[in-house]
């Protein structure tokens, strides 16, 4: 058949694209296909990255050793299964980072150089992180006081911890 774009040359390339959730098929000649490819500004690099990542995620040492099917993890927030995650290399939601961290974290070291975030912190999360750190700090102090049998001081710190816990429960940031 003839190319649907120029109606002149023979169509030799099939083009599929999703527009508004509907699949559209285009049959184009090589010249027009090349031009389209120009327009469609390929997702090539991303695709290969995901394939690469997926390939690396798929190495399941436990399975190899045990030679039996191990129950796979599923994200309880978005429903992404380990299988789909391993096949696609893509995460489903922010919770997935906790769910699949055990698989992803070793790879992140390779992809991102293995370092922790040092950039901007959202104001809300910033508050939570601050409280989390403060809480940890107080618990350490509390343990120290108990170890030293300084119970009077320990009681004060315990109250401070309770106060902070109440604040976080209220969603205070």
């Amino acid at each position: 058949m003839l190319c649907q774009e120029c109606s002149k040359r023979q169509a030799s390339v099939h083009f599929t694209k999703i527009v508004n959730g509907e699949k559209m098929e285009l049959k184009l000649c090589e010249v027009c296909a090349k031009e389209r490819g120009d327009l469609d500004l390929g997702h090539g690099e991303h695709f290969s990255f995901h394939k690469l990542l997926a390939g690396l995620l798929d190495i399941d040492e436990l399975q190899v050793i045990g030679e039996k099917v191990i129950e796979k993890v599923t994200c309880k927030n978005c429903g992404l299964t380990e299988q789909v995650f391993v096949n696609s290399g893509r995460l489903g939601c922010s919770t997935c980072y906790e769910t699949f961290g055990f698989k992803l974290n070793p790879l992140l070291k390779r992809i991102q150089g293995g370092t922790a975030h040092v950039g901007k912190v959202p104001v809300r999360a910033g508050g939570k992180i601050r409280i989390k750190r403060e809480m940890q700090n107080l618990r350490d102090k509390l343990n120290l006081c108990i170890a030293k049998e300084n119970f009077e001081q320990a009681a004060i710190i315990r109250d401070e911890i309770r106060q902070l816990e109440k604040e976080t429960e209220r969603g205070g940031s």
């Binding site: 031009e35 120009d38 690099e45 990255f49 893509r90 939601c93 150089g113 370092t115 950039g119 901007k120």
Partner: protein
Amino acid sequence: MSLDNFIKKHASNWMKEGKGEYSDIVISSRIRLARNIDNIPFPQLADQNQQKQVEKMVSETIDNKDHYRFLLMSSLSYEDRLTLVEKHLISPTLINESKYSGVWLNNEETVSIMINEEDHIRIQVVLPSLNLEEGLQVADEIDNLIESKLEYGFDEQKGYLTACPTNLGTGLRASVMVHLPALVLTKQINRVLTAVSQLGLAVRGIYGEGSESLGNILQISNQVTLGQSETEIIDNLRRVSKQIIDHELNSRKYLMEENKVALLDKVYRAYGILSNAYTITSKEALELLSYVKLGVDLELLDGINPHFFKELIVITRPGFLQKLYGQQLSSEVRDIKRAEVIREVLQKK
């Protein structure tokens, strides 16, 4: 509509403004922040209701709606969406996303807030010339505003949580689009590109991922998003860009002093073809426009509008040509119209 009026009406700010640092070599600077709402599935996995919900949640955070307009992808024609990509206002990815993918564009067309792209929210700022700092500042303010109303997916160690792990951390992709004809002519470009990739930066063609370097235009952007702060990222990019620009300037000087005949030949042949051709492909047009631009920069050619290059590299793209002529055009007709537009712009004295 005359071509002049068409350009006036459809050019974005980065295509018009000529001033700024290295504005002859740096076409534009771009900042992009990727953000997601906590616990809602990322667009690729979200169902229609969730996507609709995300669109509503993000749209409600846009305060001064007088300065913005919202474009829902599914309500635009394919050509209109293509035009937005050609102007670098939206990413190619957004074109094909779902029913509730859209963008909030400010009136100056410097800010795009994309919704339901690969991530729920992509804040993008495009400015002319080398100006990453201002871009980051603008993006940062918008980010703060949205974040004051929405809970982002964020982790202390991993930073902003994104659909693809390559954006984790700052979620920041900063890039500069540079025009480097002299480095290509003097065959230095590959050495420069190798060096750049060793510095943790990526180099791509004019339309991003996977596209070739048409018209001697390249985009340099950061690769790493985790373990470096936003300021460090743009600082690094800026330093490297400056060095590349210096190399380009030195190569231009070298061509002027040591190889002038070859340079003049390249520039005037390009000008000759562009001002006389009756049909031209977008690839050939971009390549030749690059050398005419070089001629204008080196004052070998005069009487050409200083913005012609930035305007023409966009207007001669397929989506834009179809917009200019108000109809779908086959690739043959596009080649003819492209030649016509270029002749008109170059002939103006």
